[in-house]
Point group: C3
Chain length 370, copies 3
Amino acid sequence: MKKDVRSIINILDLSKEEIELLMDTADEIEKDPAAFSEVCRHKQLATLFFEPSTRTRLSFESAMLSLGGSVLGFSSANSSSASKGESVADTIEVVSNYADIIAMRHPREGAAYVASLHSNVPVVNAGDGGHFHPTQTMADLLTIRRKKGRIGDITVGICGDLKYGRTVHSLIDALQRYEGIRYVLISPEELRLPEYMIEKLASEGAEYTETRDLETAIPDLDVLYMTRIQKERFLDEAEYERLKNSYVLTEEKLDAAKPDLCIMHPLPRVNEISVRVDEDERACYFYQTYCGKQMRMALIMYLLGLTKEDERAHRPAGKVPAKMLEGSARCANPACISVTEQELPQSFEAVDEAAGLYRCVYCDEIIKIK
Amino acid sequence: MKKDVRSIINILDLSKEEIELLMDTADEIEKDPAAFSEVCRHKQLATLFFEPSTRTRLSFESAMLSLGGSVLGFSSANSSSASKGESVADTIEVVSNYADIIAMRHPREGAAYVASLHSNVPVVNAGDGGHFHPTQTMADLLTIRRKKGRIGDITVGICGDLKYGRTVHSLIDALQRYEGIRYVLISPEELRLPEYMIEKLASEGAEYTETRDLETAIPDLDVLYMTRIQKERFLDEAEYERLKNSYVLTEEKLDAAKPDLCIMHPLPRVNEISVRVDEDERACYFYQTYCGKQMRMALIMYLLGLTKEDERAHRPAGKVPAKMLEGSARCANPACISVTEQELPQSFEAVDEAAGLYRCVYCDEIIKIK
Amino acid sequence: MKKDVRSIINILDLSKEEIELLMDTADEIEKDPAAFSEVCRHKQLATLFFEPSTRTRLSFESAMLSLGGSVLGFSSANSSSASKGESVADTIEVVSNYADIIAMRHPREGAAYVASLHSNVPVVNAGDGGHFHPTQTMADLLTIRRKKGRIGDITVGICGDLKYGRTVHSLIDALQRYEGIRYVLISPEELRLPEYMIEKLASEGAEYTETRDLETAIPDLDVLYMTRIQKERFLDEAEYERLKNSYVLTEEKLDAAKPDLCIMHPLPRVNEISVRVDEDERACYFYQTYCGKQMRMALIMYLLGLTKEDERAHRPAGKVPAKMLEGSARCANPACISVTEQELPQSFEAVDEAAGLYRCVYCDEIIKIK
């Protein structure tokens, strides 16, 4: 980073203590929003959305406005200079001369990280392709803490597309810092949690089970996190048609659920939760967006240094710089920002040098060098 | 509605007394705008425009900013999650967690009503297809009151497309609450005011005449409300070509008009009023937009409860719940929101049960059940 | 103009004294931004961008927000009523009832001038096709003054497309008001500065040289203003391919440059300056955007009359009205706003009546009448 500014690209860029502090701040905001209504006066948030995401953008904007700050930006690449071929780096060099903090969404993986390298002000990743979306996970954690009274010692069902769903992976990464989380992983065979994540759960001693069946899994759950199954993920359309209804949450399937089950969904929902479930008190997916706004308020304040100094929690220790790869290796992920960004050097750090495994610093793709 | 919040979908959702009160507030705003410049401090307006309408959107936004509030939203469906298939209901469930009031425009009829059913905050219909656009009518009424000094006892010419023009229908609905309105309905045969509206005028004892000819109608008028005639409305293009110039307002046609004629148009104008008329003091169509902003300011304040309690006017009496239709009837209007909104129940209330006439609660289409 | 309001369409609409005053204000803003953070409280800027230009739009918006004002507008014609065929004139008639000042970008030449004719509030041209973009030139001048300590007595290299680049022409117009500017004009033969501008430089006694070669020109320069060479400008693609690299600024080419060279670019950059140059302290192109925001802040304050009266500099003398052309002449520029704007009268003023030369008042195209 150019200056000593703090950007949040991945949920793990925040320590567990910092996330706890942010959740405490969110609770204070809920109790007395008026006390925060001028905290960001004269501060500007730029929302740079290279692809549309209404809910996320409006949540950031409303958060900043509720803090007394102001907002500028764009909501799709059409209305930005990106259509003239300007690089992410140049856009950020310019915008960080205008705004005090940036929330950015981009279709390419690693784009927010590239932005943070060129920014004079904090960058918050509001989604970089299928990669990270840390403020969604922050909203999820606050929802669980408020609804269950704690984050530890709960059974969390995660249902749907566990293979590609970035919110699922981030949520598990974040939950793994807490004690006593039991996972029930509910998905079709094709969309199981990736092997490397299963292995990680196992190596960390997590309690987990995998199942294909939502209905039988429901009674044990304290939290049920639903996600969308996209037709495009299936090679065989008939298989998709056969399966899709078993992963739709209906009133009937909820009959056997606990009375205090917390039903979550990152939204937008298409049809994976029946609208009849909305009336059920256990439906928390709209409440999640309410929590999300308050977490974004807390994060904006924190990154702008507008939290009392003695309240600042311990940052995650800076990583020990890994050995970087020299040479002409190229990232194999076609969605990586390094494919499109002008003159961006390919850059890899060693994960397991002996085995020849390196990680793309932008999109985290693992490549193997013989 | 979810909570006891007041939404404005149709001009008739406001009582005559309420409209008078709003016009009084607009007059106070005009006299002393500074007195209102902080009234909505810390309040947020969401402008959710699922289709573009610059003037209307900017009018709402400028109104809120002039009250010291702030604004967030989107200006077309492209830059919203709607392109991912999210329903209106879900969008509103989320946004009403962010904002204090919503102004919404949508191409489908009944969309704003559906929104009001899912909102925790007031929804103002800023146009739902060809259906309603109440704040346009509010602007029209204020323009007439200011220019003529009263709303009653005037001759109002309405020219152009009287068949499909929603602003025309709403204006007549609103004017019918006043005494002594004489209507001169000027249109081609194909675009006459619909028969049911003519019958309503007759049954309410209104004075009206119909004519095909603008030029001969002009001398009697106190108000001339022009609207656009769209080529697409004609089956026969030759007929359109033959007619179109007779419904264009020119300087020449104005020679015989009263010196204090008030010329109105809901805008955008294409060519139905010559730009040379703009210089004429009787041209009030840009002034209408000035009035529109002030009425929107008054309405936002009113719906947010920021008007003194003792000034609150009598609300229209809640409708006596009509008998609802049970069964599998479907709305016949292809533009109805019930056609596209996910899992939205078809819903009809009896208009004339004996005759088998029912009204779609979303778009007001009348269906007949045998 | 309708009222006595001041619009800025061309950099020459500001006197040299006014520009100096604006630069002084920008310096004061830099020294103490907090002193200006409430100057435009309760004022609204409308940004009407009929074509996208992120940097320019965000710069204006951030400028207004940093002055405590607020912002509304649109970022592309898609999300505006322009798509319904509304004229620029009508859009401005309406918006100038909402906002206190307008910044407008439009693809057609002369559009901002037409806007100023219909506005009750100041209009700032934020780019009208390939015609004018005065606030870019203001940013350029401030950058030079700050980096060189003065505007006079410097050698300015201008490289790239000198034929079509509007920023280049405006910059030369503005610099010609200062003493001791030496120009080095660096371009391919096809993209030389237009003959009429060369003649003007010569007639005004300016010192200038033309060259095809960037590398040999560099050592003498105090300022190097780079612009983009667009492939589309070449009839012969092979010629483009042969030339393009010689006009790309690289670290190597900078070896022979002065240690205090000021490297500028109006942005967006595609590849005409290597990103490796960004690290060089002489790279000032991102700093230009920083200056641009401050100049826009100064200009907004000035046009809104929020500068102390005794600080107001001498305006350029009103032009002596030229003889206007009567008759049916038509502007020959296909990009002129008079081609598309509804009922806009063709309008020309005499440049050299004897020779039959007339200037289109909208786009400045010279036509010859026999």
